[in-house]
């Protein structure tokens, strides 16, 4: 009996272990394969290029010089060869990232991640963007043949590298996810535009906004949820706030006073924290223009952007590209420089539907019952049977049934793809006129472009395709029973300014202008960054390259003096503990790791909690933002809405107590805040941690969830343009590369680097010659 038990136990243990090392859980490769000596994670090597390598039969000729930071300087005789070389480099450093993001947009993520990708695929597949990308490419071939040839050459470059590398030279994540890279098609570049649009301009807060409109009076909304204030610092110089919105009954009565709201909105982050500014020559000590840009994105390891310098004949362009797209999104050429921030315009629409009680397949539209149209989709899931599902559509969009609410979703970004064409022309622009002309085709995601040129001109243009909204629209649901408003804000009416009298321009995700058009209803959480930037740019003729560099690291929170005034206003007699006394004397510099910063963090958390309490008292889900609450306390108007009076004084006193409790509960760990950058596919153990960076949502240097993935300082005068840059994530996306997160320490102190022109002699780590 003992022998049988021992035998069975032994067989079970052995079988279990064999299964554990051979099974492929959740789309991942097996433990045995990942730890294999021959082919596992540690067996993979970085792409090591000898000091001088020549690749023949490439179809194009180019020279790629790589410095120690893995930054390529590409010299080519034609733009096609330039595109080919960039494709080669993108594939070399970021092939997994490119494949992952393109697959996501095609609704093919499950082919890489297995069932982990199914939820994402169900969403993306319904937009049918894989086929749409091919249509856009065919259109580009007709309207912009040079760009078409460039994209084709780029794809050839990507594929040349993919074919050339051995399995052990490939990004080890391909092995970890047991996935073979698919051939890169020229149309895939367009997919990345949709990816960014989804990251930067896809909101899901309309039901909650509608609840607010339905349940809360205009007077209370103006007090607790204001959309503009006298402090608003618009992107377009000289703009002044329009009068407060007129009290008006909302068009849709979706919620009664006591109707509960069960809608669970997807989280979004409009205010990621990007900044750009141009200091005109009248503001600088040396009479030069400085254009600066820091792109704040949700932190991941690796980051999204890739630096490159390219020269074809006399044309030079230097800046940051998105792997998969061979175009510079922020940078300069020989005549102009440009930088971007996210505009956050409202390009998602949710149309409330009325379903036929007698027939669930019909909706009321234009005074009659219409049948839904249906489409079926199939998703290939790695290691599983294909997943098939059907979606219903109305004339306005896909039908979404969520938490007892039925609406049609219309995401305008899915309907066109003109930004690549715009960026292609921006790279070749030589003055404001050609720059502005280039941006005519720019659609999504809407961006605030700042501009400067060697002629001494500066400007700003908020570019994008902004759908027109019904009159009086205020950010809630739209009526799905009537035909939707069609059309877009004309290009000439988009917010733009050229050579403004103040001789500086800037943007920090804030409201662009009040010009009668609706852009968004989410502006009131970006007041303090613009205020700080404006303050620093108005220092007289003192700005230098060094002050620009330092400004990008600025962690001064302009809300602090206002809060200190509020404390004096509401609690003048209170006997304050040491934490408050020290904070009341504080200068508002949000350095990492000191006690006052931690205490302030607790105050900000108390604001969040207070916002939730106020929203609960009003029986709505949408909470007032930090900036809105500061405004509410400053105005000091009690909120009455058929509820017990919410006196600002009482609310503020409660907030102070909350802050004290949070501070008392904060442990030592909280004193050394660490920002965690999750690995691209959230693999445990492969995260990156950054400590000691400081900053918050109100400061130029934001480090809360998002961080400045890249920074640029570009110096411009009549003799030319020179750029200095840093890329937090480094150039390589490979975990086993020295280029991965390589510039993190430089980024923390904003140590920027510059590059010699591609043809100049320099100390290069490697040179790759592409030969026909």
């Amino acid at each position: 009996m003992k022998r049988i038990i021992l035998t069975v136990t032994g067989l079970v243990v052995t079988g279990l272990w064999v299964w554990l090392t051979c099974a492929r859980p959740g789309g991942l490769n097996s433990l045995g394969a990942i730890t294999s000596y021959r082919k596992g994670l540690l067996a993979h090597t970085d792409v090591v290029t000898p000091p001088a390598a020549t690749l023949t039969h490439t179809g194009y000729e180019a020279t790629i010089r790589l410095d120690s930071l893995h930054i390529p300087r590409i010299e080519a005789a034609t733009t096609e060869a330039q595109g080919y070389a960039l494709g080669y480099m993108h594939a070399r450093e970021r092939s997994f990232q490119m494949q992952l993001l393109a697959s996501m947009v095609m609704g093919r993520l499950s082919e890489i991640l297995g069932e982990n990708g199914l939820e994402s695929d169900r969403e993306w597949k319904t937009f049918a963007l894989e086929a749409k990308a091919e249509e856009v490419l065919a259109e580009v071939a007709r309207t912009e043949p040079a760009l078409y040839r460039y994209l084709v050459a780029y794809a050839a470059g990507v594929n040349a590298f993919l074919q050339q590398e051995t399995p052990l030279q490939r990004d080890p994540l391909f092995m970890v996810w047991n996935y073979q890279p698919r051939t890169w098609k020229p149309a895939y570049s367009f997919l990345l535009q949709w990816y960014l649009s989804a990251r930067l301009a896809y909101y899901d807060d309309y039901v909650n906004k509608q609840e607010l409109l339905d349940k809360v009076s205009a007077a209370v909304r103006n007090t607790l949820y204001p959309e503009t204030s006298a402090q608003t610092c618009f992107i377009i110089p000289g703009s002044t706030p329009a009068p407060a919105a007129q009290t008006k009954q909302p068009a849709l009565a979706m919620f009664q006073k006591k109707t509960p709201n069960h809608y669970v909105a997807k989280t979004y982050n409009k205010s990621l924290g990007s900044n750009n500014w141009v200091a005109g020559k009248t503001h600088t000590a040396n009479g030069k223009i400085y254009l600066c840009n820091d792109l704040h994105l949700l932190a991941t390891a690796p980051a999204l952007l890739y630096e490159v310098q390219m020269q074809t004949g006399n044309q030079l362009v230097h800046g940051f590209t998105i792997p998969g797209v061979p175009l510079v999104v922020s940078g300069y050429n020989r005549r102009i420089a440009w930088g971007i921030t996210n505009a956050g315009w409202d390009i998602t629409e949710q149309y409330l539907l009325r379903i036929n009680p007698a027939n669930a397949n019909q909706y009321w539209y234009n005074n009659r019952w219409e049948n839904f149209t249906t489409r079926s989709f199939t998703i290939q899931v790695k290691g599983k049977a294909p997943y098939t599902f059907t979606e219903q559509y109305t004339v306005t969009g896909r039908v979404v049934r969520k938490n007892n609410i039925v609406y049609a979703l219309r995401w305008h970004a899915a309907n066109s793809c003109g930004s690549l064409q715009a960026l292609w022309n921006v790279m070749q622009a030589h003055d404001w006129s050609s720059f502005r002309q280039a941006l005519h085709s720019y659609d999504y995601p809407a961006q605030n472009f700042v501009y400067a040129d060697t002629e001494g001109h500066i400007g700003v243009l908020c570019a994008g395709k902004m759908p027109l909204k019904p009159a009086g629209y205020d950010g809630g649901m739209l009526d799905g029973t009537v035909p939707p408003v069609t059309g877009y804000i004309p290009f000439d009416s988009l917010p733009q300014s050229f050579d403004p009298a103040q001789d500086y321009v800037f943007s920090a995700n804030q409201e662009p202008v009040r010009n009668g058009y609706y852009y968004s209803a989410r502006w009131f959480d970006d007041l303090y960054r613009p205020k700080r930037i404006a303050q620093l740019l108005q220092q007289g003729k003192q700005l230098t390259w060094e002050s620009m560099r330092r400004m990008q690291l600025d962690v001064q929170d302009e809300a602090v003096p206002e809060l200190q005034q509020l404390v004096k206003k509401y609690l003048p007699e209170k006997e304050w503990p040491a934490s408050w006394k020290s904070w009341m004397q504080w200068n508002g510099v949000v350095d990492a790791g000191n006690d006052t910063t931690l205490f302030y963090q607790c105050i900000r958390q108390a604001f969040k909690q207070t916002g939730k309490e106020l929203a609960a008292a009003l029986q709505v889900k949408q909470t007032p933002s930090f900036d809105q609450l500061v405004y509410y306390f400053e105005k000091g108007i009690p909120v009455k809405d058929g509820l017990p009076e919410l006196a600002p004084g009482q609310v503020f006193t409660r907030l102070v107590h909350t802050a004290d409790s949070l501070y008392a509960a904060a442990g030592k760990q909280a004193r050394q805040p660490v920002m965690v950058l999750p690995q691209l596919t959230s693999l445990p153990g492969l995260n990156v941690e950054i400590a000691g960076v400081g900053g918050n949502d109100n400061t130029i240097n934001v480090n809360s969830g998002a961080h400045a993935v890249i920074r640029t300082v570009i110096e411009i005068d009549a003799t030319g343009i020179q750029g200095w840059m840093v890329n937090a994530g480094g150039q390589s996306g490979r975990i086993n590369s020295t280029g991965y997160m390589q510039q993190l320490n430089d980024w923390k102190v904003n140590r920027l680097h510059t590059l010699p022109p591609p043809s100049a002699t320099a100390t290069d780590a490697a040179i790759i010659y592409l030969k026909k």
Partner: protein
């Protein structure tokens, strides 16, 4: 078992781990274990196989550090995993594979072989 047979077993296990992956490795090790159960003399077979497996894993760890030092160092530099953790996880998986696929099958064979022999003797 003579010392050179013992070394042959260590080498065999190491070579198997270096050259095979996953299911093929497990199957081959299982076969090795079963054969070892038949071949290795009755006395003290357990500690010899344990030692052989331990030595094979040690050899693998040394090879990992020596030959793949760059990968170990760079990946640990780029992540929260220390070089020690990376090597330990890799070697750990191989070591457990050796024990479960060689030692246990060999033990089971020995168990039944002993039983059969003793039954024959009693007859």
């Amino acid at each position: 078992m003579k010392w050179y047979n013992y070394m042959m077993l260590v080498l065999l296990l190491t070579v198997l781990q270096l050259t095979l992956d996953n299911a093929m490795l497990a199957a081959t090790l299982l076969l090795t274990g079963v054969l070892a159960g038949f071949v290795i003399p009755k006395a003290a077979y357990t500690h010899r196989i344990v030692l052989a497996a331990g030595l094979a894993a040690g050899l693998l760890a040394w090879l990992l550090i020596w030959q793949k030092n760059d990968s170990v160092y760079i990946i640990s530099h780029n992540s929260l995993l220390s070089p020690g953790a990376l090597v330990a996880v890799t070697v750990g998986v191989h070591l457990i594979t050796l024990y479960t696929c060689v030692l246990i099958p060999a033990g089971i064979v020995r168990l039944w072989k002993t039983n059969t022999s003793s039954q024959k003797n009693s007859i």
